[in-house]
Symmetry: C2
Subunit: 345 residues, 2 copies
């Protein structure tokens, strides 16, 4: 009898542990890499150099890091970014920290992988403005040290290709992980890691339904196991609130701009909550300046709920517990072509 009771409790505890783990999980300290692009230290270093190299932009002024600042929140903390010739994009730069865990890349999920994502902004005329892939490859090919590095990392006759540039950048990005947030420490057993407000906020996001979409270790859900498609969601689910016009939520059709399917209008890839306290302003258009207002907007537009100020405070406290530790990084050294100019205009 004692034995049976013991067995019952053990089994019940086991179930609870499984349930808790499924609901709230710590951030992995490593990101998975695709089979055709394994992570190596040399590739990470090359990718870091390229990520910081403004020569990947047409006039040599904009690097990946200009809008996804890894010395900071992984964003530029602006409503929308500024590219070459002071051109402004239409969407706010998402953080590159923990982007390796997203179900798809870009706000509209148009890139399934970090490799595909990396190829976009370099050729976007309002971002880095390079005219075509070949021009990017030629830029890199005249820098002897880069050619040597590409040879070592990728091998082959012709190692400097646009694909390999993207592979190196993606590999560096896979190392941009911020583990050990207060939340992570809590989930791993340190029950003192969260404040009472944060604990209440943690319960609230579950009870209200936020974690229906913001699921998994980085709170952005996961790709569909069968189709591989990203975790997409309509925003607003409940149109008609004051926020639609106040924050221009319906100006951008979202994923529809990629698929042209009616059902994809105002559909977006679910963003991460990791480090969300550091990435203001909020939403795809950077229209909301503070996290508390972003919480109010989401509750209303996605769940049709009006939160009271206590609830907002508690959820904000919980979201702040998701700010992780930013690993120390060495600066890359960008190889220079001696004795001559690369950027001429």
């Amino acid at each position: 009898m004692a034995n049976n009771a013991q067995r019952f409790f053990t089994a019940a505890l086991g179930l609870c542990a499984v349930f808790e783990a499924a609901a709230f999980e710590p951030l992995p300290e490593q990101a998975p890499a695709p089979a055709d692009n394994p992570i190596t230290p040399e590739k990470v270093e090359l990718g870091k150099q390229l990520f910081f190299d403004p020569r990947l932009s047409v006039d040599g002024t904009v690097s990946c890091n200009s809008c996804h600042n890894v010395m900071s929140s992984g964003t530029d903390n602006r409503p929308v970014s500024v590219g070459v010739a002071a051109q402004k994009g239409g969407r706010s730069a998402p953080t590159v920290w923990n982007a390796a865990f997203l179900s798809a890349q870009f706000w509209d999920g148009r890139a399934p992988t970090l490799e595909e994502q990396a190829k976009g902004p370099i050729l976007n005329e309002i971002e880095m403005g390079m005219p075509n892939e070949q021009a990017v490859v030629e830029r890199i090919k005249v820098i002897p040290q880069y050619v040597e590095q590409f040879r070592r990392v990728f091998g082959g006759e012709n190692p400097v290709t646009y694909d390999n540039i993207a592979k190196a950048i993606a590999t560096y990005e896979r190392t941009l992980i911020t583990p050990n947030s207060a939340f992570d420490r809590y989930v791993k057993g340190d029950k003192q890691a969260l404040s009472d407000d944060a604990k209440k906020g943690m319960q609230l996001v579950k009870d209200l339904g936020c974690t229906g979409c913001h699921a998994g270790p980085d709170f952005s859900g996961s790709a569909n196991r069968k189709t591989g498609e990203g975790n997409f969601q309509k925003f607003p689910v409940f149109p008609g609130s004051e926020y639609d016009t106040k924050y221009n939520l319906l100006d951008d059709p979202g994923r529809y701009s990629v698929t042209k399917k009616e059902e994809d209008k105002h559909v977006w890839r679910v963003p991460t909550w990791r480090n969300v306290a550091l990435t203001a302003p909020y939403f795809h258009n950077g229209s909301v300046k503070t996290l508390d207002e972003a919480v109010r907007v989401m509750a209303k537009t996605q769940l049709n709920k009006d939160l009271n100020e206590e609830q907002v405070k508690q959820i904000v406290a919980f979201l702040n517990s998701l700010t992780g530790e930013f690993p120390e990084q060495t600066m890359p050294v960008l190889p220079v072509v001696a004795n001559t100019s690369l950027i001429v205009e």
Copy 2:
């Protein structure tokens, strides 16, 4: 007699050593700091953060590092730099590496110290575009971690001041030194460190007279001991060559724009030769794309000499021997204000 001869040779060798040292000196590994701004590790770190922080520009897109890239040559390797709103300056960004050794700062020497220099670009409307000193101080003051760092570094009731911002940045810049070039190793006794061409170029720059202005360990001369004024020189000394129009050498009146004195027309602070192989394009207007052409232009305009291609090659080889070692640096971590936006536009 043997004793006298020995004494004579010893004295002669001693004189030669003094003469050689005066002509060619290795780069010091540390820069002197002013009495009112001593170097401390905490101040260097704060200065590094500020140097990399784009929030010192009006729209949050331009940092000191944007134009003086310390992951690279300490410049942007562009003819002229691009500031906020894609505005272009009139002069090429000088390298920040070894700037601590310059006799004065800016091409026209209008700042006697790194501290004074640091105050300029932040408020320049075509560079970082902040409206006034107070606006810069307010930007920093709303970032709690910065306030705490300023308190630790500078103490006092009101540690976040424009002066202290400049002091921190200048302190970081004093650590930006590239020792141990091939030239330095040669001067210190490693006679294999220079190629034959470089050795011939080294002799040439002395014989031709280049080192009359490009003197001292960083080849930019030193400030006047009595007046403290920087090492200035007319350029071109010999006007009338084809280069004046080909490279628009007379469009900018140089130091005259600061002093309004007739004798300062086309007068410039002598720039360093350290890492000059990496800082193309050349001259105050970035009009010359290659180092060999820069050597030809200088010989003609400053010394009225037409070099042959062998001489140019040798001088370029010597100048390449002045490329130093760039110290490994950790990336700064820029403190973020949680839950809200700092840059709003």
